[in-house]
């Protein structure tokens, strides 16, 4: 097998002391960047890119991609501990990760998150190693109509029956869509809903909204209960990693589904954030314990984390083979490649063998190194919950503010974060679901522009959405996902003779 010998050659390149050190530094920086909300992988890599010019390209990209892996690992930490998503793709991790931490199972949730990240990444790297040319051809088949179908599928697989009143679910979702449409409309180039304000030109960033809604909102809610985090009495057991590992194999099916969704979304490219939402939604639909999701189910952590990491990793494949970035971070890495004088594209694998296989080999190594690093820190992270609330709460506020600022270098965003915090508090208390709003905010823009691009191509004809097997298939799958709760409820009724348990469905937030 040619790939195998190439890979071995790659290991020979990646396995120098110098590169191992860069890997280690990169992962540590990445975890730090991932923990700080706002300062995401893309920003982190962009910031450090110029500093790597004096390094050989292979070492440079190994370090920068390690920052990316580190950020993927790190995003889960604050999601689980404080309900603050450190990265966009860890929003779905908060749904079950944070309740677990509140029940004193923070260590367990962190271990599950890190391990499933690792599994997702490993699978994605194997796909990259052996299926690169095949997969690149698949990605080329995705035009605007196909992208819209994927976004529809993400939405349909996530939005289902929630406990909240339908009017409130619709209101929350529409508010998300409305906020997403503020700013420049990419298709016509007109400004929408900016009302002449400079601050509104940049629109409402998804990250600002989640930092406010989840992070600040949660602090306000916690304050109401008294000055303490609920998970504070958790006993920290250093063996938590092994205990959690013992129960993970049970969920191999969830992990596999998450990985497949992630690889697909990374390659096409849909991105890690939609992948994590879709995986969570699908897991909730198909799991036997689906109705318990949102109450601290370990499966609710495994599903989004495997998908996010698989998507994040496989996003590098279209970048290397086609020059299209599968994620914002990949876009920055792509810029880096061009600056180092490498041309991403079909010939990269032929002309720059050392570089490509060195990078791929480093993905295997870096994820192992990364897992080891983050797992050893699990007890420390869990111990943060023991710090008195009156110290940790203001620090969280400060870090959230810094994070909100760094997203767009705008002070207005910090004020906006506080407004979103109040909205989060009110919505939580009035039982408006936050998850559909957040998903609408992240997908609204993308889905609208893909839809309109498709309409431009077809000159206003809807037939483009079932013009070929691929797009038609995804649309059909999306519709199936939308009616799945009804369908499965119906089936259950049929089987159990009228014992409908749909009323017990838990909300997903």
């Amino acid at each position: 097998m040619e790939e195998f010998s190439n890979l071995l050659h790659g290991f020979a390149i990646a396995l120098t002391w110098q590169n191992l050190m860069f890997m280690f530094v990169g992962i540590l920086l990445g975890v730090l960047i991932g923990v700080l909300p706002g300062l995401g992988g893309a920003n982190g890599v962009a910031i450090l890119l110029p500093l790597t010019f004096s390094m050989p390209p292979t070492s440079a990209i190994i370090m920068l991609s390690c920052i990316y892996w580190g950020a993927l690992f790190g995003g889960a930490i604050t999601s689980i501990l404080f309900n603050i998503p450190g990265e966009p793709w860890s929003v779905a991790t908060t749904f079950d990760g944070y309740p677990m931490a509140q029940q004193g199972r923070a260590g367990e949730a962190l271990t599950a998150a890190f391990t499933s990240s690792f599994v997702g990444a490993l699978f994605a790297v194997i796909v990259i190693t052996f299926l690169a040319p095949l997969v690149a051809r698949f990605a080329l088949r995705f035009g605007p109509a196909e992208f819209f179908a994927v976004q529809l599928l993400t939405f349909c697989s996530f939005v289902g029956l929630a406990r909240s009143a339908p009017a409130k679910t619709i209101a929350a979702m529409m508010l998300g869509f409305a906020l997403a449409s503020v700013g420049l409309d990419t298709v016509t180039g007109t400004l929408r809903m900016t009302f002449g304000s400079t601050e509104l030109l940049r629109g409402f960033d998804f990250l600002i909204a989640v930092i406010g809604l989840f992070g600040i909102g949660e602090i306000l809610l916690t304050m109401e209960e008294g000055l303490a985090f609920k998970g504070v009495r958790a006993r920290i057991n250093p063996k938590v990693v092994l205990h959690t590992w013992a129960q993970l194999p049970k969920y191999w099916m969830t992990a596999l589904r998450g990985t497949l969704i992630g690889c697909w979304m990374g390659i096409t490219p849909g991105g890690a954030t939609p992948a994590s939402f879709m995986s969570y939604g699908v897991a909730k639909r198909l799991s036997r314990d689906g109705h318990k999701f949102g109450t601290g189910q370990i499966e609710g952590v495994i599903a989004p984390e495997t998908a996010a990491h698989a998507a994040g990793t496989s996003a590098l494949l279209p970048m290397l083979t086609l020059g299209i970035p599968g994620s914002p971070t990949a876009a920055v890495l792509l810029g880096g490649l061009l600056i180092w004088g490498l041309q991403p594209g079909p010939l990269l694998f032929v002309e720059q063998k050392d570089f490509v296989w060195g990078l791929i080999a480093s993905m295997y190594l870096a994820n192992i190194v990364g897992l080891a690093i983050v797992l050893t820190t699990v007890p420390w992270w869990a111990a943060i919950l023991r710090v008195p609330f009156s110290i940790i709460a203001p620090i969280i506020v400060v870090i959230c503010s810094v994070g909100a600022f760094t997203v767009h270098n705008a002070l207005f965003d910090v004020a906006l974060m506080l407004v979103f915090g109040v909205v989060g508090y009110l919505f939580k208390k009035l039982d408006y679901p936050l998850a559909p709003m957040v998903l609408a905010l992240v997908l609204g823009d993308l889905a609208e522009s893909s839809f309109r691009q498709a309409m431009l191509l077809s000159q206003g004809s809807m037939t483009i959405f079932w013009a070929n097997g691929l797009v038609g298939g995804i649309v059909a799958l999306a519709l199936l996902m939308l009616v799945w709760p009804l369908l499965s409820g119906f089936l259950a009724k049929f089987r159990r003779g009228g014992d409908a348990h749909l009323a017990n469905e838990r909300p997903i937030e």
Binding site: L39, N43, G44, I47, A165, A167, K168, I170, A171, M174, L175, F177, A178, S181, D185, V187, T188, T190, R192, M193, F195, I216, I219, L220, M223, E224, E225, L227, P388, F389, S390, I391, A393, P394, I395, V397, V398, S401, V402, F405, T406, N409, L411, V414, L418, G421, V422, Y425, L426, F427, K429, L430, Y432, E448, F451, R452, M455, L456, Q459, G460
Partner: protein
């Protein structure tokens, strides 16, 4: 924001206020979509097409919520006064903190905010308080200004040192 009085407020009142706010957002969205064109042109939807229907749906949903809330006979208390006081005790300093960032920069504002918050809610000694409120902004300064070269909002003090 809207709930300044510490007296017990009914959930219904808050429901109504939130629904009215959503309704006003809906009106704004519809108004602006109409302005930029909300029709379906020959080559697909115009810029305001989707926002218009989003606004319309939001409007319908908020009116529905409004009616539901108004028709409610009994209503539980939204938040007890003592609990609400605690929420304000963190909300007001945070709002002040963000306002002061505009004037003295994020590092100094953070130091004051940390110190005041710890003093008020934690009753910590001076030493611990000072340590945290100097260390946290200090680490942030090193991290962002020195290592990552990401400029955060700064005030007169930092300017004095040439940042």
């Amino acid at each position: 924001m809207t709930e300044k009085e510490p007296a017990a407020i009914s959930t219904r009142a808050i429901e109504i206020i939130v629904a009215l706010m959503l309704l006003s957002v809906a009106v704004l969205v519809i108004y602006d979509s109409k302005r930029i064109g909300a029709g379906w042109a020959a080559d697909g939807p115009e810029a305001g097409y989707f926002p218009f229907y989003i606004g319309a749906l939001l409007g319908v949903a908020s009116i529905w919520i409004l009616l539901q809330a108004m028709l409610q006979k009994t209503s539980p208390v939204f938040v007890a006064p003592d609990r609400f006081q605690r929420v304000l005790a963190v909300f007001i300093p945070t709002a002040l903190y963000i306002a002061t960032i505009y004037f003295i920069g994020i590092y100094l504002a953070s130091a004051f905010f940390l110190a005041l918050f710890m003093r008020r809610h934690g009753k910590f000694g001076w030493r611990k308080m000072l340590a945290v409120s100097v260390l946290v902004p200090g680490i942030l300064f090193l991290l962002f200004e020195v290592w990552f070269l990401v400029p955060l909002p700064k005030g007169p003090l930092e300017n004095l040192f040439g940042y």
